[in-house]
């Protein structure tokens, strides 16, 4: 059964960060899914219909080359009619203005600079976006 608070998909390659958010979000009553693979993330997004996706941008490819695969994922999600309304939150350690503008242009719901945020701040942002999204869908 899906949690009332919401189901979060974390697309992230740093396993320790996944662990932190896994524990923290589940402890606070969220359903938690995660993956470090973009293809899998797309499938999960379509079939599990999370309430929100936390998306890291720099995700190495399977052969271990550094790549900004997050953008590809974001573009693909927004292209798919099954997933285009799911709020995507860019969750990254990139901190240039350009990355923010790009996120907004590509249809992200928010931008979180990972380094400076505590799990609690991230969770509060998640809650706010999910709430807003649900109100919008009710209308």
């Amino acid at each position: 059964m899906k949690s009332k608070k919401g189901r979060i998909l974390l697309v992230e390659d740093e396993s320790q960060l996944v662990d932190i958010y896994h524990d923290f979000l589940e402890m606070n009553g969220y359903d938690f899914l995660s993956t470090n693979n973009i293809q899998e993330a797309l499938q999960l997004t379509e079939f599990e219909q999370p309430d929100l996706v936390l998306l890291d941008i720099i995700i190495p490819k399977p052969e271990n080359t550094i790549a900004e695969q997050g953008w590809e994922y974001l573009a693909a999600v927004k292209k798919n009619s099954q997933t285009k309304d799911i709020p995507i939150v860019v969750f990254t350690n990139l901190e240039t203005h350009r990355d923010r503008v790009k996120s907004e242009k590509m249809g992200a719901a928010a931008y979180i600079f990972k380094r400076d945020c505590t799990p609690r701040e991230v969770m509060e942002t998640i809650a706010e976006i999910i709430k807003k999204d649900r109100e919008r869908k009710k209308k």
Partner: protein, 389 residues
Amino acid sequence: MPKIEKPDCINKNCWLAKTLNHSPYSRCQYCELKFQQCLFLHYQIISLILITFFLALFFVVEGKISELVIICIFTLVIVYGYFLNKSTDKIIKANFAQREAKLALEKLTEKLEERVDEQTKDIGEKNKYLQELLNMKTDFLRVVNHQLNTPLAVMKGYFSMMEEGSYPPDKARPAIKGGLERISSTVSDFWDAYELEGERMKMEPKKTDIAEIVNALIAEKQNLQLARERKLKIEVQKPEFEIPLAWCDCKKTAHVISNLLDNAVYYTRQGSVTVFYELIGKNYLKVNIKDTGSGVSDQDKKKLFQKFSRGKNATDLRPDGSGLGLFIAKKIIEGNGGEMVCVSAGANKGSTFSFTLPIYKNQKSTSEGEKPATREEKIVIFGKPSRQK
């Protein structure tokens, strides 16, 4: 083929070409031969001599010259002359074309050589520039590596002791937190330096009360553990004039002052740190931060404001410096239209770091109405103006 009138085409060797300019001599200007070597001229002279000779011979032998002979001779001379004239024409023009082609080719070769030289130089310069960048990158990575590894090592040390149970978590926690903060500030410094170097960082000048910033920072620095341990006297000298408002980027200037005060505290083992103000003409406010610390040797002065430069004493007194603080500070001050200098009588004789800032005189912000930079916002929810702006 260029026009004959063109002065550089005129045959300077030949008297005919220089003097006469009508048919058939107009073609002579294409020719390069000397007057005496002209075949057509030889033909004309020899034909004339031969005609005269043969007519005289006829006259002597036969006693008269028949009209038929005269007609024959002249017809032959004219017909030969005609063809010789034509072929001379062609030869001259062909020679001229060849010469022209040769000249053009020479010119082209010269030009090509010039261009190759130019491009080689260009490539050389670019190569040098790239090499510099590469060196910079190597430096950068080495420093990044060192700067990040040092606090990591400290944190790891405390953490492992804590894990073993040999060190109380309450004591280890502040050290670990300090390490985290140090890593954060190092990463910010690197990013600032990177942005300032390419002048990508935008200054947002506004009316700024420097005295207020200084007072707040001094209170903060007096509380630093190091300042208390060393019993440093940190104070402001009240000037005789009223301190004017400055026109500068408030946050970044505060960062500069904080950095200079930090430096003063780090590099002063005993004594005092004093801030005093001066007016430079009517337009500039000068802020001086004077300490009784380790000073700056003449050798270190040269590279004081350079990236990653660390003075000889610096490494002893503050092993964790990134070597970027003064570089960033100077760039920020310059970005706000001021200057930064350091005066020191030498090692262990204290030093004074001073910078100037323009005084506020109704300057208008150029960025007014523009969207303010969102860089400092750590969470931005799009489509929600209250938080974004």
